[in-house]
Symmetry: D2
Subunit: 409 residues, 4 copies
C-alpha cells in the first residue's frame, strides 16, 4: 500500500500492482471484517510442507478482484456490454466471496460450526455489509447467489473457469514454489468470451485450458492433498474436537473469548444469528494457534500431544493406499497405542485413524467449460480437445490413507 | 518438504530446492527451538504495507544455509581450503544466526527484554543446543562469535557481504513484490574469493556490488523504513509498554503464560538464565496478536485503541520531515488529543509522538567490502568504483517523523 | 562469456550461468564447426510468429550440456557410479548432438541434401573432430550411437526424457514467450534415477512427467506446428526446390559458394564425403536469407514471389482441417492461380498445396518412460498415472492443411 | 502473432502480450521497411559475449510501442489530456524511431554512410511512409522532430526517461541474462506525470530512478561496452573499411547488390536521396555476415583474417586502461605484427589499434530528469536524491583500450 491515508495501490509479487478502483471498494477493504482475512492463511497448514505458503485470504481476495477487472476489460473490448453497476457488482462479489472463511480456511470449516459452509457465512457478511453500506452491495449479492439474470457474470465469480481459481492456482503455486502449478491467468482471460450468455473460451485457447486442468490436478495432489498437509489438517480437526469434548466435560481451557464461545456452543444454520456472526468475525488462525500453544502443556494426554505434534511439526506417520485400509490392521495399530500409552479406545482413535481424499480435475456434470469454435459453435472442452485426455481428467480419483504414531509420541 | 518422516528437500520459490545436507542439520531444523521460527515473520508488521510479506524467519534461515553451501562450493572451486568440519560450522552458524529473534523480529526486540539483543539470545540458544548435541556446535559457535581464527568464515556469517544479507534482500524483495530490491545473490557468490584471510569480491563484480548497495538502500527506504511500517511498529512497541504499565498496576491482562512472564518481569542480561530462555522459547508472533485481539476490548482507552489500530490497520497519521519536528507543534497536537479524549499528557503521548529513522547504505568504518583487482591487489570497493558514487552511499541518512491521530480514533 | 581469452562462463537467461567444465570442451566450443551453430536458429522461421524466438542451436547445445552436468551430479549423489571418462563422454555427446543441423534447423533438413538426417551429419562431424582431437571423443561417439554398454547413458542423450528435450522445451518456451510450455527441468532432473541400467523417474515425479508431456504437446501445436510457422517453412522448402530447378536449367543464381555447391549437386548418403562435409560446414541461415534477398528481384515469377513472401512476412493463407483436403477444391484454387498469374500447373503448385502435420505426445512403442515406485518396481508411466490421461497422450494427432494465396500475390 | 491474416497480438516474453492497437499501426508493422528490422540485431555483435542476445530492432520497436500505450493510459488516468490523434502520433513516433538503423544497429552506423545518423534516416523513412499513407504520420513526425508544441510528448519519445530506454534496458537485460540490468519499467511508468508541460517523476519514485540510472550504467559497462563486444565491433568496422579500400582499388568483392552500392559510393547527407534510401532499405545484418563468409577465403590477408576472427569468434586481445595507451607500446606491437606477417604499417594497423569508450549515466546538461515533490514543486532528480550519489553518476567515465593479436592470427 503506497500511503497510509489514501491507500490506492497494493504491491503484488504476482501481478506487479493491484489498483483499488474506487472509494466503495476501498472502504470494504478497510473494513475490519475484510482486514480479518489478513490473519487467515490461504492454504491452511500447508506451510508445514511448503515453508513459503504463508500468504493469506486477504491477498487472494485482492488478486481475484484484479483479475476480475482484467476480465471485464477484455470482454468489453470484445463487444460484451457490461454496465458500471455490473462491473462494481462483479468486483465486490469476487472480493468478498471468501470473507466467510474461518481459521485455516478449509481445514476447520466443519470443526468450528456444524453444517454451515463458508459460502453461507460469506453471504451473511455480505448482507450485513450491504445494510451498513446502504444497499450498494445488492447487485454483488445477486451475482454471488447466482441469481443475477446474466449467467456469465455468475460464472465469472463461480464456475470451473472463475477468477477465484485463476488467482488461487497461480498464487498458491507461486508462494509454495510448486512451479508446475503455475497457470497463465493472463492468457486465459485474454481468450474469454460470451456466447448465449455463457462464459466461453475461444478455440485457440484449448491447449491453455488443458494445461490449466492438468496444473489444477497437479496442485491438488502435490499441495492441497499432499499427505503431510492432510495429516496436519486431520490433527488440527482433532484438536478442536478434543477441546470441545473437554469443554463439554466442564474443563476450563485457555482460549480467546471468541473461541471460547464456539467451544461451548453447538452452532448450526438455525442458530447462526447476528450475534454469532459478530463473534465469528473475531475468530482467525491466531485464536487456534495461541490456544494450542497453551494446550500443549495441558494434563490431557490427547489434547497436549495433538498440539505438540502440530506446533513442533512432529506429525503422525501417514500412508496412502489405492484401496481402503484393512480394518484389522487399524484395530491392531490402535490396540498397540492403547497399550503403550494406557489410553481408552476412544482416546487411541485420535492417533490412529483412516480416511480418504478425492479429486476430480474436471467435473462435466456440474459446470462445463465451453469452447467457442472458429465457426462460432459452442461445444464442451472435452469435444474440442484433440485427444480426449480431458475425458480422463473428469474421472474422480480417490486415495485412502491411514495415520498412526511413528514410534513414541 | 517431500516426505513427513525423512524430510530432506524443501521447495523454495526463490532457489527452487533447498537440500538439507546432513543428519545433524536435519535434527537442528526439526528441533522445537527452530520450528518456533515458523511463527515469527521475517519483516515484522510490514505485511500491513506489503500484503505478500508473510514469510518467516524459518524460511530465511533455510535460504541462508542454502547460499552458504553455494559459497563453500564456489570458494573450494577457487582453491580455498575448507574442511568438512568448517563447512558444517559455517552451515550451522548461519542456520541459527537468527534463532534468538523474538516476536515480530526486530519490531519488539527491545520491548520484551531490556538490553538483550537477538544475537545474544541466538548465542544462548546455540550453547543450549550444543550441550544437547554433545558439543557438535562448538565450531559453529566460534564462527558466530567471530572467534574462529579464519576471519573470512566469520565474514560469511556476518559482514556487509554475508549470506544473511544475500538471502534477506532477495527474499524480502520477492515476497513484498518490491522488484527493485532484487539482487543477484548467485552472481555475487560466484565472484567471492579470499585474500589475506579476508572475503573479497573479484574486480569484475564491482558493478554488481554497486547495484547490491543501491538495492539495499532502496529496500530500507521503501520497505524496512516505509513510513506505514514505521508507525505500525511504533504502535506495537507502545502496546507492550502500556500492557506492562497496566500489569505493574496489578491489572490481570489476558495473555499466554509465556507473555505473562515477560509482562511481569523485567528481564535483562543479568537475569536471563536458562529458565528465562525456556520461557522465551515459547514466545512468538501468536502470543502478541492473540493478546491484542482480546485487549482491543479492554477498558483502558490507550491499550484498546492501540490494539484496534494495528488489528484493523487503521493507523496513526505519520509525516516524514528532513529536520526534527518542532516541539511546539507536538505539544499542540498532544493538547488537542488530551482535550478530545479526556486523556492525561502521559496517555496522550501514546498517540502523539516523534522519532527518527536512519540508514547508511555502506559503512566503511565498521566492515569494508574489499575488491580483488586483476593485478591481485585488495582495495576498498569505494576506490574500485569508477564514480565514487559509493562514497555518497556511505553517508548516513536520517529522517524525522511525527505521528498523531488522523481524526477520531 | 566473461573474458575474451579464457572464456569459462556463459550468461544464460534461463539457468543463470553455464560453466564450461574443462579444457577439451572449451576447445570444442571454440571450434569453427561449433561456432557455426551461432548462425542457425533453433526454431527455424518461428520468429515470424514469435518475434522473440531468435535463439540459436549454439545456445541450446550449451544448455543441454549444463543440464547433463546436473544430471550426472544428481545420479552420483544417488549412488549411480559414473566415471570421469563417462561424464566427459556424456557432456560431449549432448554438446555435439545437433552439430549436424543445416540452415534453419529442421526446416530445410531435406532440401539441402537427400535422405541424410542431421543426426547422421552430426556423427560425421564428431568423427572428424575425434580425429582432430586424437580420439578423445570415442566414448562420446559410442554414447551418441547408442552403442555404449550402459544403456541409461544413451538415454540421457536420446530418449523421451533426454537432456535435449529438457533444454529445448524450456528454452523455446522462454524465448517465444509461450509460458505454458515452460517445464521444470530442474525438478525432473532431481527425480531421475537408474534401475536395471534404464533411466527412471521416481514415483513422486509422476505429476511432473504428466505436465512435461502436456507441455510438450502444447509446444508442438502452439509453436513448432503453429500454422503460420508451417506455411513459412513450406515456402522456404519451395524456395530451395525452385532454385534447384532453375539451377538445373543452367540459371546462374546469386549464391554463396557453399550454397552454390548444394544447388548444383544432388548429395545423398553415398556421396557425402569429407569434402562435402567441409562445404556443409560453411552453410548456415545466412546463406539462405542472403540468397533470398537477391532472388526476390529475380525474373522468375515463382522464385521471386516465394522469397518476398518470407522476407516481408506476407505469407500464403493456410487453413487447418481435421480431414484431408478435398482434391477438387485444391484443383480449383490452383486453376484460379494459373489463370490470374499466367502460370503452368507445375508453377501454380508452388502457391497452392496441401500437406499434413502430426504429433504424438508420448510414444510408448519407441522408448518408454519408466517410473520407479516406492516399492522399488519399475513400471511404465502410463500405468503409474492415476488417470490414464497419458494413454490419450500416446495417440498420434494429425491435422491437414491447405495453403493458397490470400488475394494478389 | 496469433493468426496469419489478421495479426493483432504478439507474444512477448517480457510483457506477456503486445496488442496492436489499430489498423494503421498494423499496416506500418506489415510494411517491408519495418519487417526489415527483423533482420537487424538490437545489440549488434554482443551475442558473441552473451549468446542469448539475438533479439532484434523489430521486437524492441514493438516493446516501445507497448510501453507508450501504458504511459498514455497512466497519464490520462492522472488527468493529463491526450487526444486520440496525439496518442496515435506518440505510438507511431516510438514505433518508427529506430527504423533508420542499418546493419548491426550502432556498430556500423558510421561505416556504411558518412555522417548520416540513424535518426536522420529514420526521419527519411517516416517521411516516405507519410507520403504513402496520405499524411497520417505528420503528427508523429512532429513529435519525432521535437517540434510538437506539447513538450512532454517529445520527451516520451526521446529523453533520459523515454520509452526507448524503458524498453531497451529491460529487453537487453532479459535476453543477455545480465539480471542486474533489469529495471521495473512498469513501476517507473506508474510514477510518470506532467508539470509545466514537462515529463516528471513523482517523488516516491526517486529510488526507482536511482536504480534505473545505476542499472543503465551497469548495462553500459557490462554489456554495451563489454570489452569483447568492443573489439568485435571494431573488427566489424575494419572489415567494411578494408572492403571499401579494396573496392576502390577495383577489386570485385562478393556482395549483395545493396552492399555493393554502398561499397562503391561515398554516401553522405547531401547525396542521400530517395534512390539511396531504397537501396539502404534492402540492407541488413545478413548482407554483412553473408559477405564476410565469402571474404574469409579472399586473398587479401587483412580482409580474410578480419572476417575469420569474427565468424569463428577468435578475436584480438583487448586490454582496458584508465589512461591513454602509450604510443611507443602501440608502435612496438605494430612492428611485431608487420614483421611476423609481412604487412605494411597501414595493414598492420588493422590488427593493432587503440581507442576509448565513454559513458555518462546521467547527463544533466542535456536533458534533466525532473521530480515532482509532494508539495508540488519540480526539482532536478539530483536534488531530490538524499545522497547526491546521482551527482557522481553524472560524471562521464572514459576507458582506453588497445587491441592486438593474441599470438598467431
Amino acid at each position: 500500500m503506497k500511503t497510509s491515508n489514501k491507500l490506492k495501490i497494493f504491491n503484488d509479487p504476482i501481478y506487479g500492482f493491484i489498483t483499488i478502483p474506487n472509494e466503495l471498494i476501498f472502504d470494504l477493504i478497510q473494513h475490519k471484517y475484510f482486514q480479518r482475512l489478513r490473519r487467515i492463511t490461504q492454504m491452511g497448514l500447508s506451510y508445514l510442507v511448503y515453508p513459503g505458503a504463508h500468504h493469506t485470504r486477504f491477498h487472494h481476495a485482492l488478486g481475484c478482484m484484479h483479475l476480475m477487472l482484467k476480465s471485464v476489460q477484455t470482454l468489453r473490448f470484445k463487444g460484451v456490454e457490461i454496465s458500471e453497476e455490473e462491473e462494481q457488482g462483479l468486483l465486490i462479489a469476487i472480493l468478498l466471496h471468501d470473507i466467510g472463511h474461518g481459521p485455516f480456511s478449509h481445514a476447520m470449516e466443519h470443526s468450528i460450526v456444524n453444517g454451515v459452509s463458508h459460502e453461507t457465512i460469506s453471504l451473511l457478511f455480505m448482507e450485513k455489509l450491504n445494510a451498513e453500506f446502504n444497499g450498494s452491495l445488492t447487485l454483488a449479492i445477486d451475482i454471488f447467489k447466482k441469481n443475477y439474470p446474466r449467467k456469465f457474470m455468475n460464472q465469472l465469480v463461480s464456475s470451473q473457469l472463475d477468477m477465484d481459481r485463476a488467482d488461487y492456482l497461480k498464487r498458491d503455486s507461486f508462494y509454495s514454489g510448486v512451479a508446475e502449478g503455475n497457470i497463465n491467468s493472463e492468457r486465459i482471460i485474454t481468450m474469454l468470451n460470451v456466447r448465449n450468455d455463457e462464459l466461453v473460451i475461444e478455440e485457440k485457447g484449448v491447449y491453455s485450458i488443458e494445461k490449466f486442468l492438468v496444473a489444477r490436478r497437479l496442485m491438488y495432489w502435490q499441495t492441497y492433498l499432499h499427505k503431510t498437509g492432510v495429516v496436519a489438517e486431520q490433527l488440527l480437526i482433532r484438536v478442536l474436537k478434543r477441546a470441545k469434548e473437554l469443554a463439554s466435560q466442564g474443563e476450563d481451557l485457555y482460549t480467546s473469548s471468541a473461541l471460547h464461545f464456539f467451544l461451548h456452543h453447538e452452532i448450526n444454520l438455525e442458530n447462526f444469528d447476528d450475534n454469532v456472526l459478530d463473534i465469528f468475525a473475531r475468530l482467525d488462525d491466531y485464536d487456534i494457534i495461541a490456544a494450542m500453544k497453551e494446550w500443549r502443556f495441558h494434563d490431557d494426554f490427547v489434547l497436549s500431544h495433538l498440539c505438540k505434534m502440530i506446533l513442533d511439526r512432529n506429525l503422525l506417520k501417514i500412508k496412502l493406499k489405492k484401496k481402503e485400509v484393512d480394518k484389522e490392521k487399524v484395530a491392531l495399530k490402535k490396540q498397540h497405542v492403547m497399550e503403550k500409552y494406557h489410553l481408552s479406545e476412544k482416546e487411541a482413535a485420535y492417533f490412529v485413524f483412516t480416511g480418504s481424499i478425492t479429486n476430480q480435475a474436471y467435473n462435466k456434470d456440474e459446470q462445463q467449460i465451453y469452447v467457442l469454435t472458429k465457426t462460432n459453435k459452442v461445444i464442451d472442452v472435452i469435444k474440442a480437445s484433440d485427444q480426449l485426455s480431458l475425458k480422463a481428467l473428469s474421472k474422480p480419483v480417490t486415495k485412502h490413507y491411514i495415520c498412526y504414531p511413528k514410534t513414541l509420541l
